[in-house]
Symmetry: D2
Subunit: 453 residues, 4 copies
């Protein structure tokens, strides 16, 4: 998610393209941009990747001052073009374009109320729901209406919005999802991760605070609190898995946090007396943690699994049932690195165990004497209602097996998870995070517990 | 516009595709279909032609009983994907898909009211506006709500709609746009023109009456009057230009009506003493009228302008300013047919005169001694508010020049239009038509007179 | 097939595109162009249509003086990219690009000889074979080598060729296939049909003579005879079916020749006492002949079968076995024109009878009282070895049934063919044509008689 | 390059696809496959990548026993479809499909002779030249003709060939390019690198020997020596840069060879007294060498430059002059890893220095205190005539500057190359390699020295 307001007129499609491209990992289902073109808001969006969908508008080059972009991650609602964002509407508050990252947890009651009052829904997005509430607000002033709306919704919402000639960035009061705010050369920029600011060469940035709304427009920039600062519930899974290692999220370096998690794993194994010869990361998800593990354990680190850079979306396997072949096309073991070794294989997390089983098989085929899979996160046992796509409880392998059973199931000599205390010890402010996917302790009411939507 | 309800489960995307394809001439901007698939409504739509956009769903083959399809003609609102139809929404009345042909003339006041009440608009279509009104209606019963809604809107609307498991076809009380209703083998079908019924091999059909709503569902078919039968204002331009010659619209044969218009032109010219050697149609718009002219005048008819069937949408001229080359790629004169002749060149109507100028030039280059352009319609002078895209009054050549000036402008030896009386004489029930684009006499209030939207 | 030499530098891809586009009907399998770009010959070719394959090079705009273009008609060798033309080679004679229309009839012995001597074949085209012969010729001078080569090959060959900076147009000594030569504004142009010259607005042209080679280069234009003028064997099927009606081929107007054929059919029927009410052409193949028939017979002519212009190559029927549906998507009867009439349905020729059967069915469904199918050519009974794709003798309906049986087979009330004498009577120089597909009298030796290749 | 012969019928397009895909890094210009389909050889090839060009044939599934595949690397001849391989011809030796990796160095004289004798060239490939020689050979027996042909050509050629029902793999007598031969379950397989055999799960393989020809057909497999075993000149650049790290080429582990090169660099720096804090690889080209460096130097290794996996070929920069932006889209520094450090940045080689300059800038922007660029190969100063694309001597930065000047030019604090002795010390059999790009000492005559083709 990206938003730009510029004092001077710029080529918005191009200026949105590059940072949005660097956020592609946050969603590959659909993408879009909305911007003000000759006095009207327009939106371009489609199923597919940024380079394909938005690449063709790069040279559109209509001078403009304001635009937002979105990549959609499929955590609900299905892969439908109607759900692509930004959502662009015209209403009594003016023309509004909205992009949303996260997941609102009290949609059920809000939607029932809007249905009753005659609202019609084109999509199943939380963004459209929010726009209905905003348009129907009887508050005279736009920002009063917006604040009233934000107070009615619960759960995870980082938002970027265009309202007429104003750009607005918003982060929910618990701060589930990241949102960063930077300025440079008369530009005000919002981005989910700082890697998007890096590509724009913006060095002056900070996290938008939970409960903060930042408004940029022709009259300048101002910060508004729409909710009191209380407890934070930042998504720890952003640090473990979701964000890019070269980003900072929640004002933390993702790469260093992961290295600490790897080091914590190594301490765990040292106490347990595990002896390995070699630390290998699962590329690229285990890279940082494996480095941290090797450093702490004093063991050799090797890039013994290489990754093929030519696998992309352009090729669809003729038969669905070829997951193993798909993995083999992408990940290749280096036999001469692995053969005869007791390998510590490090990844970030374990969900269903399907891919891990294939990877362990590849490493064994390459001649490893032992394979010990280590995950730099605790066991995932609960669904997420705040924007991470986690399978049903039944599908989560840690709800069905203990580590010893998992090891047997995937063919590893052992499987080890970073414990909750270990994870907390890697975070400078451990109380500021949500760990609900590990411990089921949700920081706000959720629709139903025990099963994902 | 097409709608199908089938007693038995059929492959709806395929069954919609063929009749919709045969209506492609009614709109080339975008197209779409909506149907009930596994208990939910889904919609597929995009900018482009039926064969491209919907061809890929032909083999989807989910058994279904109900579906509608739409081709969009750009008469307003711009070429945006958001305006593609059917519009599919979820609201307190259930899931609804709606396709609209025509143009509602009191949108201004209705939209103001909806804005005031907090409705948000994703598109600029009349179809979305109608759905807002329907959803907000406080009538308990769906059909009461629908009837109340239809009574609030004015202007041209032929509609096909899916509501849950029910298919509904509706024609406005003045009957501006055609809509036909046919049945066969347990199927109930709606289509804008009968050519779409022909390709489905449905022989049992009639026009939906102005003010009639036909409802087909699991319980059978019923006809409801939502407005009293009063004066009709059927669009005479459908007969002159818009509909396909092999169709019947308003229960009239389009081909025969056009032949009568051509014959009326010939009588006009005979009285005026015009002498020609040869009647040529502008392909294919002047075909039927030219045949009628030649027959009445006793002059030879020839296909002296041939049409290249390989010109399609796949090729975009590198430079915009090549209209003449585009015409030359498509229309080719047969020199040996034309050389030395006094040619009566027959077309349906004259709007800006740009293409006619090129055609007259081609015919002269092919050696014609004289070229007399004859139009089987009166001079177009007024905008249409009911669904035909007519340029601004300033652009209409007949608001700027009389026939003699037009002839000089386009290089013809003379230009002649069918007069209003002549036109009326070709129609069995001349009072049942709207002639507003010729005489400015609009059958219902229009937003403003003298200029199109 | 098109060739251009220009005194001044022009944008050759664009200048080839438009005339080649107007020859699309001569071949839809593949197409290509070759031209001299920055001192080297380059070729662009692919399976597909001119607008798709060559449209993308329109704006390449490298100044050049010389280029050729080709559309390939699949009469042999299969739909393979390797067979797309022009063929571009480098050899001891220099860089050569060659495009060929027709079919060489003594390929067997020539190919055997070349094999023996070590030539390697990338394609199965006659053009490649000719280039092998040319390169291997021991004649010192290029034109001596070319003449020697042309004398070794038999059958049908119209050729356009680039050799270094020279453009050459060639027509075989019997003149099977058409080739026209025009000049204007310092340009020398070759084209298979004059419609391609028309779109270039070239009025000064003539047929290349059988046995003539025209050479255009920086030193000017010269005509060379490589064979004595003897008997001509021009393909009468070009006039009947293949060429566009707005073209002249063999210095004859195609449209007028077809009208005469239709008139001859009408005289035949008058003598036989056939009574009809209405003449309908099969669009567009029967257009000209039907006009000639109606004029001669004094019967009304109507465009009672309309053609859908949106059918193109973009849509592939999901199932192969849907020929009837494909015809129904393309051809639509006008019920009000046809119902109750005794219809004379005119087409150019009858091959397998498959499409005619469907058309007769459509006309009967539209209410025709009688349908009499008339073909403006004799019965096709023999294969063509000179470039027209005719099915095997067994597939030709006229080898299996007499007209009465055919009528029964296709559901018509009668079927009538133009006789050989009738056909000859329509041609000013009837002895200058090849009628082998009708009478099996081949004007030069053919590989084997009784079956096509 | 891949070749398969199977005792049983298999789906050749699919069986070629996967190993060829794993060799994509060896050539991205064009690709193709040829196989025996229903008794005839067919070829599919196009400009573009394996997944796009060949992915569509995966399900063709015609049972077949024999096929070859090729990816083309643009070292000469230009990016033309005509040069895509395999080359498929028909000649007096039968149907032959040929794929070639390498570069023949005596093409000039051979081509002159073939021109003289009348051969025509469709492409500029060495493969076509070889086929001309083969077809023209007067040797009666095919293998005698093939051997005679191979003895006439000099330079680098690894070949896979289909001749009728026989698969042949060949490696030139100096062994420039790799070629491996494996067998399993009745299949005989050739592949340029062993990573392609890994994905086929073939464990039983060896390098084809220099001067060896292996023939697999219905009668079994046999090895033929067409040249005496003499000096080897294997391309050392395959180990340094070209091959994949998980491959073995020339029976050496690429990954381990590169680690040794990195370690040798570290020893060099230790002797020179360089002090660094952190070793970073340029991803992924410097990965293995950086690991070897860090291990030897006892310095921390970090993945401080991350690589974006979404950059692909689908997006073309609107302006050419955006190399820096392209690098920024692909490579991202991790500020928290780099800031304040003295960075040893390791890459494989330095050609023009353009990308290195941008990378050094990125690392400095991320806060590095010092950046020392280390290359795990000597200075490249000479063109390659055996298949590696190296720019002209003038473009090679090491022909214009010494390391100190280069450091200044690219903004690094120092630049260091692995010396020739250092490189040799990393290879078990250093005499078996060609180092000509470093020292200009070519192992066989080359067309001209001092400038590339």
């Amino acid at each position: 998610m990206v938003g730009i307001f510029s004092r001077d007129e710029i080529n918005i499609p191009e200026q949105i393209f590059f940072p949005l491209f660097s956020l592609q990992h946050r969603g590959q289902e659909s993408c879009g941009l909305a911007y003000r073109k000759k006095g009207r808001l327009v939106a371009y969006k489609d199923l597919g990747m940024v380079s394909t969908v938005l690449g063709r508008y790069l040279s559109e080059s209509r001078p403009s001052r304001i635009g937002i972009g979105h990549v959609r991650y499929c955590n609900q609602g299905g892969n439908r073009i109607e759900n692509a964002q930004p959502i662009l509407v015209n209403c009594n508050k003016g023309e509004i374009a909205l992009a949303h990252n996260g997941s609102i947890s009290n949609t059920g009651e809000l939607k029932a109320e809007l249905f009753e009052e005659g609202s019609i829904f084109h999509s199943t997005t939380d963004a459209e729901l929010l726009l209905h509430l905003l348009s129907r607000s009887r508050e005279k002033d736009f920002f009063s209406a917006l604040t009233a709306t934000l107070r009615r919704i619960q759960g995870a919402f980082s938002l970027v919005m265009i309202w007429n000639e104003t750009l607005i960035g918003i982060r929910d009061s618990l701060g589930f999802r990241p949102l960063n705010y930077g300025t440079q050369n008369g530009r005000t920029v919002f981005a989910s991760e700082t890697c998007a600011l890096d590509i724009m060469q913006i060095q002056d940035y900070r996290a938008v605070e939970p409960g903060e709304m930042i408004v940029a427009g022709p009259e300048g920039v101002r910060s508004i609190r729409f909710a009191d600062a209380g407890r934070k519930s930042q998504c720890v899974f952003e640090l473990i898995y979701f964000a890019r290692p070269d980003s900072r999220v929640f004002d933390e370096s993702v790469h260093l946090a992961r290295k600490r998690m790897g080091a914590a794993l190594a301490r765990m194994d040292r106490e347990a007396g595990l002896e390995g010869d070699l630390v290998l990361p699962v590329p690229d998800s285990g890279n940082s943690a494996a480095l941290g593990y090797a450093e702490e354990a004093g063991l050799p680190f090797d890039l013994g699994l290489t990754r093929n850079h030519y696998t992309g979306r352009s090729f669809i396997m003729p038969s669905n049932n070829q997951r193993e072949l798909t993995v083999r096309m992408k990940i290749h073991p280096v036999r001469d690195s692995i053969a005869g070794k007791r390998v510590i294989l490090v990844d970030d997390s374990l969900v269903r165990g399907t891919t891990s089983r294939i990877l362990v098989k590849l490493v064994k085929e390459a001649g490893a004497r032992e394979v010990h899979l280590r995950l730099s996160s605790p066991e995932i046992r609960w669904p997420c209602f705040f924007g991470i796509d986690i399978p049903t409880r039944q599908e989560l392998i840690s709800n069905r097996m203990d580590p010893r059973e998992i090891a047997r199931h995937i063919g590893a000599d052992s499987v080890g998870f970073l414990g909750m205390d270990g994870l907390r010890s890697c975070l400078p402010r451990p109380r500021d995070y949500c760990y609900a996917c590990f411990d089921g302790d949700y920081p706000c009411p959720v629709p139903f517990k025990g099963e994902s939507a």
